[in-house]
């Protein structure tokens, strides 16, 4: 059975820009897909195609079992959208905005009113409910926009950077709201720049760049593909970074995929991929000590989604220019795999 969201070979060009260049997506019912990618990767374009706002130049997309090109009206009845930029009427109050959206979702007047009241409470906007949205702060507008997307709880939701601009508390609360929605059976496609958010909410992650999918999998799978643990050392004396890097390269895991030691001169930080855990850490400390290298900080680090993101998108950028890297990248990175596959 195809998922609640299913797209094949989506292409959308704007002039010379191929905003989507053959994107395939599949989101199983009741799950969350996190769509990641650098600025301009095509995330918003993908969301706009899937929500019937843009017609794809090629490819096919089915949302809640309905074709977005051939049955746009039916699709709209089954989706909720919160776009990247808050789409609220500035001259209407928060309450009026939500009531209007409720009415346009074909709720009855009284239902729309009750729902607006509930959502205003829920999103901590009750105090500002009767002020024009123009007087709201950026984060308040964002919340109002999210509330508008949740007026009815359609089976499939799209949220384009839902928590951008929210303070940590409101972000946390937004996550809880999303988790509740998903627990109630909603399917969600979420784009985000906060990888922590994807880590927490998304069952599956899809990384796109230049309009192509460069990696997909669960957060753990992606982290595993980036490589295992690394040891990170901050040396006290900048002059010692070279020696320290040499020492640490000696501890590098054979065949580790993250490349050699990375040296950040200005922070005096050296990172190497390793395998061996805490025991290895002690050895590294002893060896550095024996060479008289004073250290400020040392730690064992598991890759974060940030690492995955930087690694994947970094590779993609390099590959475009350097053909000789392709061999190395093929061993190491899914970025190359995806590209070769086509």
């Amino acid at each position: 059975m195809p998922g609640a969201i299913h797209a094949e070979g989506l292409v959308k060009t704007f002039g010379d820009v191929r905003a989507l260049d053959g994107v395939d997506l599949d989101v199983a019912e009741g799950t969350v897909l996190g769509l990641l990618g650098p600025n301009g990767a095509g995330k918003t374009t993908a969301v706009r195609v899937l929500t019937t706002l843009l017609r794809p130049d090629a490819g096919r997309a089915v949302v809640a079992g309905l074709d977005v090109v051939r049955q746009p009206d039916e699709v709209r009845r089954s989706i909720g959208l919160s776009g990247q930029f808050a789409a609220v009427d500035e001259y209407l109050t928060g309450r009026e905005n939500l009531r209007m959206v409720g009415r346009l979702y074909q709720l009855r007047g009284r239902q729309a009113k009750a729902r607006a009241g509930e959502l205003l409470e829920r999103f901590h906007l009750a105090d500002a409910a009767d002020r024009p949205a123009r007087t709201y702060s950026g984060g308040m507008r964002r919340r109002l926009d999210l509330a508008a997307a949740l007026v009815v709880s359609p089976p499939v939701m799209f949220m384009d950077e839902p928590t951008t601009g929210l303070d940590p508390r409101n972000r946390q609360q937004m996550w809880e709201v999303i988790e509740e929605l998903v627990a109630a059976g909603t399917t969600l496609l979420l784009t985000t720049q906060y990888l922590e958010e994807a880590d927490r909410l998304a069952h599956d992650i899809c990384v796109i760049d230049h309009g192509r999918v460069i990696a997909r999998g669960s957060s753990d799978e992606l982290k595993a593909r980036t490589g295992g643990e690394r040891v990170e050392v901050v040396v006290h004396d900048r002059a010692m970074t070279g020696t320290a890097a040499e020492v640490m390269t000696g501890f590098m895991a054979g065949g580790a995929s993250g490349g050699g030691a990375t040296v950040e001169q200005h922070t005096r930080r050296i990172t190497v991929p390793v395998s061996g855990g805490a025991k290895l850490l002690a050895e590294v400390i002893r060896e550095l000590d024996a060479r008289g290298i004073e250290i400020d900080d040392i730690g064992l680090r598991r890759p974060t989604l940030d690492d995955v993101f930087l690694w994947l998108t970094g590779h993609a950028a390099q590959d475009a220019g350097a053909a000789e890297d392709a061999g190395a990248a093929r061993d190491a990175g899914p970025a190359a795999e995806e590209r070769d596959g086509r």
């Binding site: 009206d73 001259y91 346009l104």
Partner: protein, 283 residues
């Protein structure tokens, strides 16, 4: 959180009913906006009032209305002029509708509307209805000012209302032109100027301000068949105001029918184009 899953389907109204309902919801939204930005309404009223005063007192004595008793008198011209000013005023709804819709596109609101399961033309119809209300308000104020400077009707109140009806219908038709302009140019500034510039030739190459009898034959033909002239002429007839020497062109002989027909044609054509454009519009 009590969720209303499935509500969308349960309350899915039948199509025409839904279209009317959605349009009214959007119209209400636009009327609330007008109430919150009264400057817009105030300027919309001041502009035609200024025209009435300028034309009445500056040109009033200089433009004779041929074929009328006391053709040179300022009061004759004022009474001749008023239908023209009314008609010009209602066509300014074009710029309002255009700017409003462009603004919605600009702010991303159109995206929100387009992702909702609402009737297709409702965003535009709602806007044009709200503009119609504003235009009616403007015309009312203007009529009072007109009476103050000496304008009178001579054929009774029912015919006067018929004339205002024709005017508002024309204004409504023109707001669809504005809607199309707004969807095409995408920025409110461009929509305002784009909505206005073409109104100047349209309203000046007509019988609104000067009798067409003095125009060169080509311009006169254009003026006689101008949709705008038909409404102006119809209003003059219905108000019992001076008409000057009326041309033999069909629309000038049957101005009420001509006015109605023009308005219907404009609505059919421009509504169709605008709704189509709306469906593919991207901000």
């Amino acid at each position: 959180m009590s969720v209303a899953t499935g509500a969308v389907d349960r309350h899915r109204a039948r199509r025409p009913v839904q279209a009317v309902r959605d349009s009214l919801v959007v119209a209400q939204r636009n009327l609330i906006r007008m109430k919150r930005i009264p400057e817009v309404v105030v300027f919309a009223v001041i502009q035609p009032v200024m025209f009435v005063i300028l034309f009445s007192y500056v040109f009033g004595g200089a433009i004779p209305v041929p074929g009328e008793k006391g053709a040179g008198g300022p009061l004759v011209y004022r009474n001749y002029l008023m239908a023209g000013i009314f008609a010009q005023t209602v066509t300014f709804a074009t710029a309002g509708a255009g700017a409003g819709i462009a603004d919605d596109m600009h702010k991303g609101l159109i995206d929100r509307f387009r992702s909702l399961p609402m009737a297709r033309g409702a965003v535009l119809t709602g806007r044009t209805i709200a503009d119609l209300v504003q235009t009616a308000l403007t015309v009312m104020v203007l009529a009072v000012v007109a009476v103050l400077v000496g304008w009178r009707i001579h054929d009774g109140v029912p015919r006067m209302f018929a004339a205002f009806g024709l005017l508002l219908f024309l204004g409504y038709a023109f707001s669809w032109v504005g809607a199309l302009i707004g969807l095409t140019v995408r920025t409110p500034e461009a929509a305002t100027s784009g909505g206005l510039i073409w109104l100047f030739p349209l309203t000046f190459v007509s019988n609104a301000f000067v009798p067409t009898s003095g125009m060169p034959p080509f311009l006169r033909a254009v003026a006689d068949w101008n949709p705008f002239s038909a409404t102006v002429q119809a209003c003059r007839q219905l108000y019992g105001n001076p008409q000057g020497i009326v041309s033999h062109a069909w629309p000038m002989r049957h101005p009420v029918w001509a006015s109605l027909m023009w308005s219907v044609v404009i609505i059919l054509v421009f509504r169709g184009l605008a709704v189509r454009k709306y469906r593919t519009a991207t901000a």
